[in-house]
C-alpha cells in the first residue's frame, strides 16, 4: 500500500495518484544500486540480488573510529574506506556478497542535482562524468524534520548509545549529514541536493556499539523510507533526514589530495573496463534488425556457452576410431587420384550395338524361314504326332450322353487364340457332335468374345446356336466370381442376347454346378486352371473335369491329371492335332501346316541354342 503524503489515504500498490485527493503519490520503486532492478518502496533488500537498498546505520565506536575516514562514495553502498573497521567490512561483505574493496555503486551520480555548478575537470575523471546519470528533478519540499523521524529510530537512539562525534562537526548545508567544511567537501558531493538540515544535539554522542542487529534496527515495509532520489522519477519517496546513515556523516574532514576527493584506488575492477581510453574511437553499437528486439542498440551477442543447455557436457578430445580413420584415408586416396575421363558412350556402344543387332537379325531371319518354308515346300520331316492324354480325353467325351449340359471355362483371349483355338476347336466340335449343351463362362474380359468367334466357326448350323450354346459372359472377381457362378448359373444373363439364363431353353434344368454333366477348362495360364479346379472340387467334386491347355502349362497340368482331378487333357498344338485326327473334322491340312512350321521353329531354336553355346564356350565369356 502507498499512503498519500497529503491526506494519508492508503492507495493500491503501483498507484500514481491518490484515490482520495488526487495528489500525486510518491514513486513506488527503489532502484537496486547493484543490479539496477526496481523494487517496491519499503524493500530493504533487492528482490533480485538481495543487495541492500538502504544503507545500514552504523555508528562506529569511538575507539574504533578510523583516524582518517575515506570519503563517502554513496549513500547505500559505500566502498570500503581505508582503515575501516573489520566488523563493518564483514557486514558489507555479507550484505552485498561482493568484494568490498572494489565496490563503487553507480548511482551516486544520480544524486547529483541539476543546475548545480559542474564539477571541475580535474575533480572527476571524464569517463566517470559520462557515467553520471541525467539530472534528477528537483526534490519536492521535504516534510518537517520532526515528522520525518520515525519512531523506531527514536527508540533506537534511546536504546543504542551514540557513537562519539567526529573530529570535525559538519556544517549544515547538507541535511542531517555531517559535512566537512566547504573547502573539504568533494566536488561531486556538493551537487547532492539534500533535505533541510536537522538540528542535532551537539551533546548527543553515539554509543560505541560494536554489533547491531541490522534487521532489528531497520524500518519495516510500512514505515517511511529515507529520501532517495531515483533516476527518472519525479517524486521523492519520502524525506527523513534523520535516517541518513551515520557513516555518511563521517565525511572527510579534508579533501583528498588527488582527483578532487576521489582516490584512484577506489575505482572498482568491474568499472575499469568501462573507462574510455584516449585515442580509441568509440564504435557505434550495432542496432538489432531482427526479432522482437529489433531497433534496440547495444545488445549483447549470445556469448559462448549461452546457447548450450545447462546439462550439456563438454566434448572431450579423444582419439578417432579406426573405422573413421580408414574412411578418411579412403576419401583422401580417392581425392588424390587423377581424374579418369570415361570413354564416350558412342565409342563403347557402337560395336556392342552392331553385334546385338546382327544377332537379333539372324535369329529373326532363321525363325521366319523355319516357319514359312513348310507352307511353301512340303517337307516330309515329321511323322504323325502322338498324345496319349488327348486320346484319353477323346474317349471320355465320346462316352458323354446326348443333350448333356457342359460347362466350358473359356480362359484365353486373342493373345493365345492362335494356339488355343487349335486346342479347343476339335474338342468343341466333338461336344457339339455329341449333342451337348455348351454353357460358356470366362474370368477374362476378352474370353466371351474369343469363345464366340470359335463357336461360330465350329457350329455347322448357326440357327441352332440358341439351342446349343449359352454364352454367360464375363465373371469378375477371379475365384470369388467362379465360386459365385458355380452356385448360380441360372441367375446369370446371356451375353450375346441379353436374355436371362433362366429364360433360355438350354438352361432350363441348369441352375448350378450340380446340374452340369461335365466341365471343360480351356486355359492358357496356370492360375486359371488352378482356380477352376479348386472351386469345382469344393462345389461339386463328382463332376468330371477335362482340360484343354496350352503347351506352356502342360507341365503344371500333369500333376492334376495324375491325381485324377482331370479326367483328360489335350495340350498344345500337338494334342490338338491328335484330337483333330481322331475326330476327322476336315481341318487336318491346316494342322499339318501348323505342326510342320512349329517343328521347324523348334528345330531352329534348338540349333541356335547349340550354336550359341558353342560360340560362347569357345569364344569366352563376356562380362
Amino acid at each position: 500500500m502507498i499512503y498519500c503524503p497529503k491526506c494519508g489515504t492508503a492507495n493500491r500498490q503501483g498507484s500514481k495518484f491518490c484515490n482520495e485527493c488526487g495528489a500525486p503519490l510518491p514513486a513506488t520503486g527503489l532502484r537496486c544500486p547493484m543490479c539496477g532492478a526496481m523494487n517496491p518502496a519499503g524493500n530493504l533488500y533487492c528482490d533480485r540480488c538481495s543487495a541492500r537498498l538502504i544503507p545500514a546505520e552504523r555508528v562506529p565506536p569511538e575507539e574504533e573510529k578510523p583516524e582518517r575516514p575515506s570519503p563517502p562514495k554513496g549513500i547505500s553502498l559505500p566502498s570500503v574506506p581505508l582503515g575501516e573497521e573489520e566488523w563493518l567490512s564483514e557486514l558489507r561483505a555479507e550484505a552485498l556478497d561482493l568484494a568490498p574493496e572494489e565496490e563503487t555503486p553507480g548511482w551516486p551520480g544520480e544524486l547529483e542535482a541539476p543546475g548545480e555548478p559542474p564539477t571541475p575537470e580535474t575533480a572527476i575523471p571524464e569517463w566517470l562524468a559520462e557515467l553520471e546519470a541525467p539530472a534528477a528533478p528537483p526534490a519536492p519540499e521535504a516534510p518537517p524534520p520532526e515528522a520525518a523521524i520515525p519512531e523506531w529510530l527514536v527508540e533506537l537512539e534511546e536504546t543504542v548509545p551514540e557513537a562519539p562525534p567526529p573530529a570535525e562537526k559538519p556544517t549544515p548545508p547538507l541535511a542531517g549529514i555531517p559535512v566537512p567544511p566547504s573547502g573539504e567537501i568533494p566536488e561531486w558531493l556538493r551537487d547532492v541536493e539534500f533535505a533541510p538540515p536537522i538540528q542535532e544535539e551537539p551533546s548527543a554522542q553515539p554509543p560505541p556499539v560494536a554489533e547491531v542487529d541490522v534487521h532489528a534496527g531497520m524500518p519495516s515495509a510500512s514505515t517511511t523510507v529515507p529520501p532517495i532520489l531515483i533516476e527518472g522519477e519525479e517524486e521523492i519517496l519520502s524525506t527523513a533526514p534523520a535516517e541518513i546513515p551515520d557513516w555518511l556523516k563521517e565525511a572527510p574532514a579534508e579533501a583528498p589530495p588527488e582527483y578532487g576527493g576521489l582516490v584512484p584506488a577506489e575505482i572498482p575492477e568491474w568499472l575499469r573496463p568501462l573507462q574510455p581510453r584516449e585515442g580509441v574511437a568509440v564504435e557505434e553499437e550495432p542496432t538489432e534488425t531482427e526479432g522482437f528486439l529489433s531497433g534496440l542498440r547495444g545488445l549483447l551477442p549470445i556469448g559462448k556457452g549461452l546457447d548450450m543447455p545447462a546439462t550439456a557436457q563438454p566434448l572431450l578430445p579423444r582419439a578417432p576410431r579406426p573405422a573413421a580413420v580408414a574412411r578418411a584415408e579412403l576419401l583422401q586416396g580417392l581425392l588424390s587420384r587423377p581424374l579418369i575421363t570415361p570413354p564416350t558412350a558412342e565409342i563403347r556402344e557402337a560395336p556392342r550395338q552392331s553385334g546385338w543387332v546382327l544377332t537379333r537379325f539372324l535369329v529373326g531371319v532363321i525363325l521366319l524361314a523355319a516357319i514359312l518354308l513348310p507352307m511353301l515346300v512340303r517337307l516330309p520331316l515329321f511323322g504323325p504326332p502322338t498324345a496319349p492324354t488327348a486320346e484319353a480325353l477323346f474317349a471320355t467325351v465320346n462316352q458323354l450322353p446326348g443333350n448333356t449340359p457342359v460347362l466350358i471355362a473359356w480362359e484365353y483371349g486373342p493373345a493365345e487364340s492362335d494356339e488355343m483355338d487349335r486346342v479347343a476347336g476339335p474338342l468343341i466340335e466333338h461336344l457339339l457332335r455329341r449333342e451337348a449343351r455348351l454353357i460358356v463362362v470366362s474370368t477374362r474380359m476378352e474370353g466371351p468374345a474369343a469363345a464366340e468367334a470359335l463357336l461360330a466357326s465350329r457350329l455347322v448350323d448357326p440357327s441352332e446356336r440358341s439351342r446349343r450354346i449359352a454364352n454367360l459372359g464375363y465373371l469378375p472377381g477371379q475365384a470369388a466370381g467362379v465360386r459365385e457362378a458355380l452356385g448360380n448359373l441360372g441367375g446369370r444373363t446371356e451375353a450375346m442376347t441379353g436374355l436371362p439364363a433362366s429364360q433360355l431353353d438350354i438352361m432350363a434344368d441348369v441352375h448350378s454346378i450340380a446340374d452340369v454333366g461335365m466341365v471343360v477348362i480351356l486355359a492358357a495360364q496356370p492360375d486359371d486352371l488352378k482356380t477352376w479346379l479348386e472351386q469345382i472340387s469344393v462345389a461339386n467334386p463328382n463332376v468330371p473335369v477335362v482340360a484343354g491347355v496350352s503347351a506352356r502349362i502342360e507341365l503344371i497340368s500333369t500333376p492334376y491329371l495324375a491325381a485324377g482331378q482331370l479326367r483328360g487333357m489335350v495340350a498344345g498344338l500337338t494334342g490338338g492335332a491328335v484330337y483333330e485326327r481322331q475326330l476327322d473334322t476336315g481341318w487336318g491340312r491346316e494342322y499339318e501346316y501348323y505342326l510342320t512350321s512349329l517343328g521347324m521353329a523348334q528345330l531352329a531354336i534348338a540349333a541356335l541354342t547349340v550354336i550359341g553355346a558353342l560360340i560362347f564356350l569357345v569364344g569366352g565369356r563376356k562380362r
Partner: protein
C-alpha cells in the same frame, strides 16, 4: 479417428468377412451357407466396380503423360480404350451395331495381341542363343540340356532318334519335372494357407496402409 478408419475398421471387416466365409465352407448349414454366398456375391460386385475404377484411373494417368515428351503412345492408348468402350456400349445398347464390336475385336485387338505374344518366341530364341554368354554354371547347363530335350522330344521325329527323344522327354516330364512341379504346387498351397491365416488373424493387412 484416423487409426479407426484406416486400420481398425478395415481389419475388423476383413477378419469378420473371412471368418464368416470360412465357417460357411466348414459348416455348410443353411444360415452360414447363405451368409457365405451373399458375401461372395458382394465381393464379385465390388470387383466389377474395381475394374471400372481401374479403367478411369488408366485414362487419368495417361492423360497426364500425353502432355509430356513421348506422349504419343499415351494418346494412342487413350484413343484405343475409348474406342473399345464406345463400341462395346453401342453393341450392348443397339444390337444392330454389334458387328462393329466384332470387327474391332477380330481385326484390331486379336492381331495386336497375337503379335505381341508371338514376340515371346523370338525373344526366347535370342535368349537361348546367348545363354552361355554371361553365365557358365552347372544349373545353366542343366537348363540348357532340359530345354533341348523338351524341344526336340516334342517333335514327331522319325525313328529311331524320334522314339529315343520322345521316351527321354516322357521320362523327363514324368519324373524330374513332375517332382519339381508337385513341390512347387505344395509350396504354393502352404503359402496360400499361411497367407489366409495371417489375413484372418489380422497379421497381414493388404487392404490398409
Amino acid at each position: 479417428m484416423d487409426r479407426l478408419v484406416k486400420r481398425i475398421l478395415p481389419t475388423s471387416i476383413a477378419v469378420g468377412t473371412g471368418l464368416l466365409v470360412l465357417l460357411g465352407y466348414l459348416l455348410p448349414v443353411p444360415p452360414l451357407a447363405s451368409v457365405r454366398d451373399e458375401l461372395i456375391r458382394w465381393a464379385v460386385i465390388i470387383a466389377a466396380f474395381a475394374f471400372i475404377l481401374g479403367f478411369f484411373n488408366l485414362l487419368r494417368v495417361h492423360s497426364g503423360r500425353a502432355r509430356k515428351p513421348g506422349g504419343i503412345y499415351s494418346v494412342i492408348l487413350i484413343l484405343t480404350a475409348l474406342t473399345s468402350l464406345v463400341l462395346t456400349l453401342a453393341a450392348l445398347l443397339i444390337p444392330s451395331l454389334r458387328f462393329l464390336g466384332d470387327w474391332w475385336f477380330r481385326y484390331v485387338l486379336s492381331p495386336l495381341q497375337a503379335t505381341v505374344a508371338g514376340l515371346i518366341a523370338f525373344v526366347l530364341a535370342v535368349a537361348a542363343f546367348r545363354l552361355l554368354r554371361h553365365r557358365r554354371e552347372a544349373g545353366v547347363l542343366v537348363f540348357l540340356v532340359a530345354a533341348l530335350v523338351v524341344l526336340l522330344g516334342t517333335l514327331p521325329l522319325p525313328a529311331p532318334a524320334g522314339n529315343w527323344l520322345a521316351n527321354l522327354r516322357t521320362w523327363w516330364m514324368n519324373v524330374p519335372a513332375m517332382a519339381g512341379m508337385r513341390g512347387l504346387l505344395i509350396g504354393v498351397g502352404l503359402g496360400v494357407l499361411l497367407v489366409g491365416l495371417r489375413v484372418l488373424t489380422g497379421s497381414d493387412r493388404p487392404y490398409s496402409d
